[in-house]
Symmetry: C2
Subunit: 324 residues, 2 copies
Amino acid sequence: MPDSGPAAGCHLGLDLGGTEIKAAVMAGSGTVLAEGRAPTPRSGTPAVIAAMHALAARMVGDAPVAGVGVAVPGVVDMERGVVKFVPNVPGDWAGRPLAAELGARLGAPCLLLNDARAATFGELSLGAGRGCRHFVLMAVGTGIGGGVVANGELLLGSGGHAGEVGHQVIDLHGPRCACGGWGCAESLASGPALVAAAVRAVAQGMDTDMRAACGGDVGRITPSLVAEVAAAGDRVAAELMDALAHRLGTAAGNLVVVLNPERVVIGGGLSLAGERLLEGIRRTMAERIGWYLRHAPVDVVAAELGAHAGALGAAAWARRRVMG
Amino acid sequence: MPDSGPAAGCHLGLDLGGTEIKAAVMAGSGTVLAEGRAPTPRSGTPAVIAAMHALAARMVGDAPVAGVGVAVPGVVDMERGVVKFVPNVPGDWAGRPLAAELGARLGAPCLLLNDARAATFGELSLGAGRGCRHFVLMAVGTGIGGGVVANGELLLGSGGHAGEVGHQVIDLHGPRCACGGWGCAESLASGPALVAAAVRAVAQGMDTDMRAACGGDVGRITPSLVAEVAAAGDRVAAELMDALAHRLGTAAGNLVVVLNPERVVIGGGLSLAGERLLEGIRRTMAERIGWYLRHAPVDVVAAELGAHAGALGAAAWARRRVMG
């Protein structure tokens, strides 16, 4: 179906990250036309907004823009289009009417959405959740974000804050979490939790190839290093990956019994560890909630959209809202 | 609005429990006309179904019945009206086409629903969730059941199994749960968990009035005994109640960050412990997810419908489905 006339303009998605701004352009038909990225300025809010606008202008050119969606790594007031709290992007964000400012610059209605919710909507529209009526996304990286789809719709809750799946407590007496709580899935099963466990193993003198892989400098241990050493057959690293999968599987199981989804989608940087991680999550769910899965089976799959999930989801969200 | 004509017949709710069958009759207008109960026969499925029919007939008399809802303490196939698994009512339930059997006897369409979901729908229609777009129910008794309301609708998930809030894991290394998992909220924060902690305290020789209250026989300790002794000022019993509230508050907090409800409704027998329990749940949520509640405040309130929540909810569910 060709796009024609102003009402069929393109839909732009912007994903504001701590190091990069990503963008996606979607036709009125839903086809993805372009993807792009630019560094996030470190010099404050006006520079960041200018960079978002410049990236958008470069991506869109002279094409009419029907709607803009912005994925924000923090708390937003979706109704008013105002940013409330953004921990990881330098600048003065609280109270910023970002939707109005960007909308005016781009000449189109602009909507804000939390970035993990945007990624969830992206997977629903274009990725691993396509055709699913009920699924949950767990995006596992430095933190654990996510989102919930119920009855084919993104679940927002009373203020758009539903889907903070990383701050479920899975260990009453677990470690302090960056959120201020303790024992959250994010404190136990995120990238930093995996790195911490690997650092301890190396520093304790365990017999592991992770020591050679980091050149003896534990500051160079990353989640991918642990995953790679595990994949190459190292027993200690494999145990760490399996412990991580057990904790993720426990958190995923919690979501399953509460939400009865058809599918659990694992995204974020750690999902690149692949089938071993997914298999560990499936095994844990079978151990812990096998009674439930007998009546309510669930698939565990990897996310499909990678690093552009947020921008694609934001574009799809704008399209959905503008086109109704 | 007067009820007239066959389409405006009454709606009957039946709640099948391990010891009692409860019933409620609702007018087409939504007004509750009558409530009743009868013992659950111990002699097998045909006797139980006959007792449900007899109670229904006694409640309804000659009035036309427009719809019947049945709350089942287990797993049902909602689409087909077939029971799949009922652990606590003697009989041969698996595969039983209960909706067809009762519907034929009562001459009206019959719908099955899990009992905790029925109670949630009851609180939504007539109780503590009235007017709420987003809430969760935790029903705390011998087990912990519950349900989720999102966007003003009962959340069913892909097969009607959403809302098993008691089988969220809150302690990775917690005790074995009746479900086969371990560390579930139900294993740590239900009536039996409270009784077990009280038995240990008494048997260990702690200085507590619970010993006198049970006449030295720990087999007589009940959740209400602990709650009453705590309310009378006993420090040990009060600590047990507060520990229970902490665990319930942790589980409730998990639901809040995932679902962003306006309200958490606490029901079940233990909710009769009252304000001390609710206050402990609120305090725990403030400690653990205070960061979240700043942007997404939530009320914690007691359920309103008591032991008839399931029957009322089942009647309301039938009415809603029949009237559209």
